[in-house]
């Protein structure tokens, strides 16, 4: 789980025009009969080209909603979106639907969790890639078909010339996800969002797909956002990791920092509940107690405090006051009331030895 590989883009020197993708104070609220669901509530992050951001969190923490808002895929009228999503200097929040549609697929593309349900069962894999390519490129069907075969070849589908005419149900799970990636990358997008790309796949296939995403990212030099609940996935791929809880960012740092010096109790919990081969087998996994909160009635103060073992160390602050995301050390942000000495003590004594 080393992240020592040289970064393709030097993170410390973002381009003068600002980062390639910058999300600032993004809020996505869904008004319902029961109240406003605050799926995403003040989220900020940025990604450079050639760089990978991992967004990690439990189900219902707002990861997928975030990605769908970047892509502008929430049906009109359902979500109230505010804040900024700046892609290449272009603010997408409030932009016209037609403008975002033209960017979708071409400048930003997305890979979904379950490739069987995400591909249309009635069209061949080739047809769906050709369709994606021809939306943004005025080329003949023959040229697009050749491109589709090239793409299938590139993502490692054997005999792409004949498989191009197969239907999704004739592909295996891993092959379908490869085809999905081929479709997403058919127009050379600069931003690729992968929403749980390996969740529906066999463990043996997961690693192949992650390798493929990494290889293609280096080839296309695109910015990648990987959304997952599995820290193992982002350990493989991500340069930066954003840990989400109840629609907010609780910790945001480089992957190296997250794995070697995590600061937030929730991150500790995620790390503790990760199965590890190098751990004593007699030891049980440590699940985080309790369940994620309702996004309609988010707990007061720190939304994690009802599940947090160390909440009492903050002298009641975590129950009344919402902790802001602050930069503790360079490029390491955390939203937690624990004082530095307390945190250091807990980490050294309780957490680190058991990881």
């Amino acid at each position: 789980m080393s992240t020592d590989a040289a970064p393709i883009v030097d993170r410390s020197a973002p381009s003068p025009a600002g980062p390639f993708l910058q999300v600032k104070d993004l809020r996505v609220h869904f008004p319902t009969d029961d109240g406003v669901v605050k799926s995403v509530d003040g989220l900020s992050f940025s990604v450079e080209r050639g760089q990978t951001l991992g967004i990690v969190g439990e189900s219902g923490s707002g990861k997928s909603v975030t990605s769908l808002s970047i892509m502008g895929l929430h049906p009109p009228g359902t979500a109230e979106i505010s804040g900024q999503v700046v892609l290449n200097g272009d603010n997408l929040v409030g932009a016209s639907a037609e403008h975002i549609r033209r960017l979708r697929g071409k400048d930003m593309a997305m890979i979904f969790q379950d490739p069987l349900s995400a591909m249309h069962p009635y069209y061949t894999v080739g047809h769906q890639i050709i369709e994606a390519y021809r939306i943004h490129n005025r080329v003949s069907k023959q040229v697009a078909r050749k491109h589709a075969i090239d793409m299938l070849d590139r993502v490692g589908i054997p005999q792409p010339k004949s498989r191009v005419d197969d239907y999704p149900h004739q592909f295996s799970g891993g092959m379908r996800q490869r085809a999905m990636i081929a479709m997403a990358l058919s127009c050379d997008p600069e931003l690729l969002i992968a929403d749980e790309p390996t969740t529906a796949l066999d463990v043996t296939v997961q690693a192949q797909i992650l390798d493929l995403i990494r290889d293609l990212q280096q080839e296309f030099n695109s910015a990648v956002i990987i959304i997952t609940h599995d820290l193992g996935v982002v350990a493989e791929l991500a340069d930066d990791i954003l840990v989400m809880y109840a629609g907010r960012s609780v910790e945001y740092a480089s992957a190296h920092e997250i794995f070697t010096a995590p600061l937030h109790p929730y991150t500790w919990g995620l790390l503790g509940s990760m199965p590890r081969l190098d751990r004593e087998r007699t030891e049980r996994l440590k699940p985080i107690q309790g369940a994620p909160p309702s996004l309609i009635n988010v707990p007061t103060g720190c939304p994690f405090h009802p599940r947090c073992t160390y909440a009492e160390l903050t002298a009641g602050a975590s129950e009344t006051e919402r902790p802001e995301l602050v930069e503790i050390s360079p490029r390491h942000h955390v939203a937690c009331h624990l004082s530095a000495p307390d945190r250091q003590r807990v980490w050294e004594n309780d957490i680190k030895p058991s990881l």
Binding site: R104, G105, S117, A118, P121, Y122, I135, M183
Partner: protein, 337 residues
């Protein structure tokens, strides 16, 4: 695929055989079980003044005294090779496929049916296009504008469409549009007398609309339900994520998937309709198969009723077959299994 078709065709023939046997029994066996003698059956085919002896002779001549399976065998044989009917003054030959011979009007049934089929075909062809296009379009729009005034009002109209009987909507529209406003042809306009395609459409317009209204209603509801389901599928999100125009997302991805079950119902409805649209044809006095059946029933002309029923069964069985075959064309997942 070819063996599948052959297997289905053989199955269709067997099914037709069974249907014909059942229908034949209903008309010729059930009365006997109910206590009717061959002479009772024959009494319908002789004059009122006929004596007992004369009636019995007719019963023998028409074969009513034979065991029921012999009678059915004769009928079945007639379908394959034709049959001679001896009704008294002369012997009439009914060529294969002989669907029976009416002793009341003294002619084979099949030519009558073929004579009237074009009227029913005219009705079914126009109405089915109208209801398919109208119903599906209404359903799609309703699903996309779910909960809107448009959705609720069109679903209200659809509810009226499925609930109101043809003889109500038909007579009402005849009185308003034909006799009141004079926009459409009056009832009883035979489409076969039309002088031009336009005249044909003019004569059929009101029956088409009335019949289509009934069917379009259920198609609109079916399409709406199907679209609401498919538009929530993951592949619709994928299509949008590709940057596809919303119109193409709806039609090429959403409707394409929602149309499959509609196709099934459409095939069956069309098959059923080809056997005669009894209410519509009666309401608009169209000389089609439905009207023929009604007249035959009123006249107690069993061979005609048997003929119409069998022809209807043929249409339904083949519509079923075609739908099943089309399914493989429409849904690739069926093809490989």
């Amino acid at each position: 695929m070819l063996t599948y078709i052959i297997r289905r065709l053989i199955g269709a023939v067997i099914l037709l055989f069974i249907v014909s046997a059942v229908v034949f029994s209903i008309f010729f066996l059930v009365p006997r079980i109910g206590g009717a003698t061959p002479d009772d059956l024959a009494s319908r085919y002789v004059g009122k003044s006929a004596g007992v002896e004369q009636i019995h002779q007719t019963a023998v001549k028409l074969g009513f005294t034979d065991p029921i399976y012999v009678q059915y065998g004769r009928f079945a044989k007639g379908i394959v090779v034709g049959q001679d009917y001896n009704y008294g003054p002369a012997v009439e030959h009914c060529p294969a496929p002989c669907l029976g011979y009416s002793f009341i009007t003294q002619n084979p049934v099949l030519p009558d049916l073929l004579d009237r089929l074009p009227v029913t075909l005219s009705l079914a062809a126009g109405a089915s296009v109208l209801w398919l296009v109208g119903g599906v379009a209404t359903g799609v729009i309703s699903a996309l504008k779910r909960g809107s005034f448009l959705d609720r009002s069109s679903m209200g109209v659809a509810l009226a469409g499925v609930s109101l009987p043809i003889f109500f909507t038909g007579l009402l529209s005849l009185s308003i549009f034909s006799y009141g406003l004079g926009w459409t042809a009056p009832g009883g306009a035979n489409p076969m007398d039309a002088t031009s395609p336009l005249d044909w459409a003019y004569r059929m317009l009101l029956p088409w609309i009335t019949l289509a209204f009934l069917f379009a209603a259920s198609y609109a509801r079916l399409t709406r339900a199907g679209m609401l389901e498919t538009m929530n599928e993951d592949y619709i999100r994928t299509a949008r994520a590709k940057g596809l125009r919303e119109r193409d997302v709806v039609i090429r991805h959403g409707l394409r998937a929602a149309l499959t079950p509609i196709l099934t119902i459409f095939g069956l409805d069309l098959g059923l309709l080809l056997g005669g649209a009894i209410l519509t044809e009666t309401t608009f006095s169209l000389p089609g198969l439905g009207q023929y059946a009604v007249q035959a029933i009123t006249n107690n002309d069993l061979p005609k009723v048997l003929g119409v029923t069998l022809l209807g069964a043929v249409f339904i069985i083949f519509a079923n077959l075609i739908v099943d075959l089309l399914y493989a064309v429409v849904d690739p997942r069926v093809r490989t299994k």
